[in-house]
Amino acid sequence: MDAISGLVLGFGVILTPENLYWCFVGSILGTLLGVLPGIGPLVALSVLLPVTFGMPPVAAIAMLAAIFYGASYGGSISSILVNIPGDASSIVTAIEGNQMALNGRAGVALGMSAICSFIASTVSLVFLSFLSPVLAEFAVRMGPPEYAALVVLGLICTLMMIRGSILKGLVMLSFGAFVASVGIDVVTGTQRFAYGSVNLISGFDLIAIVIGLFGVSEILLNIEQIFQNKPVKTRLRDLWPTKKDWKDSAMPIARGTGLGFCLGLIPGGGPITASFMSYAIEKRAAERKGHRFGTGRIEGVAGPESANNAAVSGGMIPLLSLGIPGNPVTAILLGALVIQGVQPGPMMIQQYPEVFWGVIASMYVGNVFLLLLNLPLVGLWVQLLRIPYVALFPTILLLAIVGSYASNKNMYDVWVMLGFGVLGYGLRKLEYDLAPLILAVVLGPLLEESLRQSMVMSPDGLMIFAHRPMSVALLSLAALVIGFSLYSRFNRRRPKCTII
């Protein structure tokens, strides 16, 4: 069955009142849960999984998938408005997005974020519809050495976004790597830095770290400003992107979509890495044109938001075509399919065409719902800023506590979250950039695992990277990035220039 007739079948399946209803419910729930800090798609899906048991397969997966990509829309809203990421993949959106809000352009940032999320998702879905089998084949050929090379490239690219002192950035990077190394050793299975504690064996939960570092620390900083009688004023000037905004955003959307889609394909890549890399690239591109990031540039919203949404769609390819979930959220989707009697994998298109194409069609439809929901609601979301801080901050803190507890049902994670909150507050007061820290926490374990797998597999040590064409290509690209950055750094002699 070719893609066109497949899509026709899929739309035929999804365009029934019942399926549309569940897709719509999923979109709303996803957005809402995305807006709330700490309660992301992972928590939502694990709570709602049993609800879908009685539903027909397409309706169940359409709803769960809609929650997944809806959360990605919603996550940027709290990033932009209150500088607290709703989910981990919108951490970087907060950097420029919140600055835009402070400049009175919250509406523009929100609108652009919804529009580019829609464009990126839809474009990726077209790729997904037509190239799924080919791309799945490509992704599966990536072995540990290729992963290791890819993570190295990712780390190098994102090093470009370290703000302020290089030394402080490297300190944060090392600290992040240390935090990530707590837990069970991936190769030997022995415990590291656990000191006999049952809780430390599982390391630190990523969700707890993100909520603490970015959410709690932001609240603490704001409370301080309130006490100093300096209320944070957000003015509302424009609500819609201007012609210039569109012009500035076009390329970032294109780049973000391409990047996000490719990273989504690869298990372990996913929306978080995609948004970070996109931010780094856009920052670089904007600075070459003489624009300063950190002042509320729309490119810093358009790029990462396109990237994380494209990565969500891209991530459906290994899930549906290979039955390999790339992250915990797609793992739950896999479980939901299995419990419906549908085994995702290479046989799925033949065995369950109506489910395969129905789910894909539902994603097209869901993204339209989300756009229609989000654009008119921009005004409403912005009203959130009018909520007095005495009400807003305790609510967010409460949600942060619920969110960090809900993923593992373990009070220990709440303490971790609060601990990282205080730590994040201290580090921000001392002008340390938190981005390299969280990046090391996300990418560190991936690099460690793939590097050590490569070393185990290799008969002649590091030479394994030279024997495999794709790893050679990726590592050369990384070397090029370093070389080029050093070159331009020494040529331009701009003292304010960041690390590379």
Binding site: P50, G143, I184, V186, N199, G323, Y412, Q453, V456, M457
Partner: protein, 341 residues
Amino acid sequence: MYNYITKTAAGLAVAIAWAVSGPALANDDIAAKLAEMKPDGFPSEVIEINVVYPAGGGMDLNARILARVFERITGDSVVVNNRTGGAGLVGHSYIASQAPNDGHTVGVIANLVFADSMIRSEGAWSYEDLDPIAYLNSDGLILVVNSQGPMAEKSLAEIIETAKSEPGTIRITNVPGSMYEYMIEQLESETGASFLKVPFQGGAPGVAAVLGNNVDIAIAFLGEVRSHIDGDRVRPVAVSGSERSPFVDAPTLNEVLNTDDVVWQATRWVTLPKGVDPERRAYLAAAFIAAAADEETQKEFQALGATTNMSYDTPEAVAEHVNRLANLERTFFENTGRLEN
């Protein structure tokens, strides 16, 4: 022979009676029996089924199927709670040593609890602090090779020969500190072969590696590899269950190795913490055994590729089976120096 005939006849009679009266009546009987057994004032709150692994995984799906049927036949409210962390250690230690034993906290666990109890708990708790009440199913590890790769035409015996003559050349997926590792070790010690063990964080990433020809043999549970077997992308060379799997066309490891103790499978059951009031325990045991034996549950378990066994139909039978598995594992740990004799 006589025995066989009477059993078949009895089975037929039951089947006919069931077909005539219909499943509704059978369910009503069970529901009525359970209603009669239900202790006064119990349950006074939602019964919490603890799963020590994340949502969406094999254990979680088993527990959620069971929970749904349990609710239907008892009318009690149940919630499935994923108490994850430390690769199961957090949840196991919770059920064994912290969970209230008033009958409202239940665990759906697997034999992975033994390694946690004997090796990782460091004496803080033991699997003997748990009280098994109902058996669910088992699921053997499967060894697969790529259907188009260098091992495509080879049997496991031939692969083992290669791993003996050229030690360390056959790459096999491993999950360190788990059943996967124990299985490979036993395979090596039984045959004298030596494999190159490439570490992964579970079965599914290992399957991806064998598909991309980055390893030669992958080890996985059926659910993780079934679609690739059906799609002829990988070929199963052995299963490590106590018997062959109806879903996989491959011999057991014991058949290949001429042994009888190479069995590595996930065995799942329902447990209570020790010390639950006898009346409540009897009710819960009857209800979970009925839920596990329910037609819907059996169908769903088979859809997941698990092998069910109806003969463990009392808490005592379940406990006996669990203890036998524990002793087998203890012997392995002692033989490999993981535990002192």
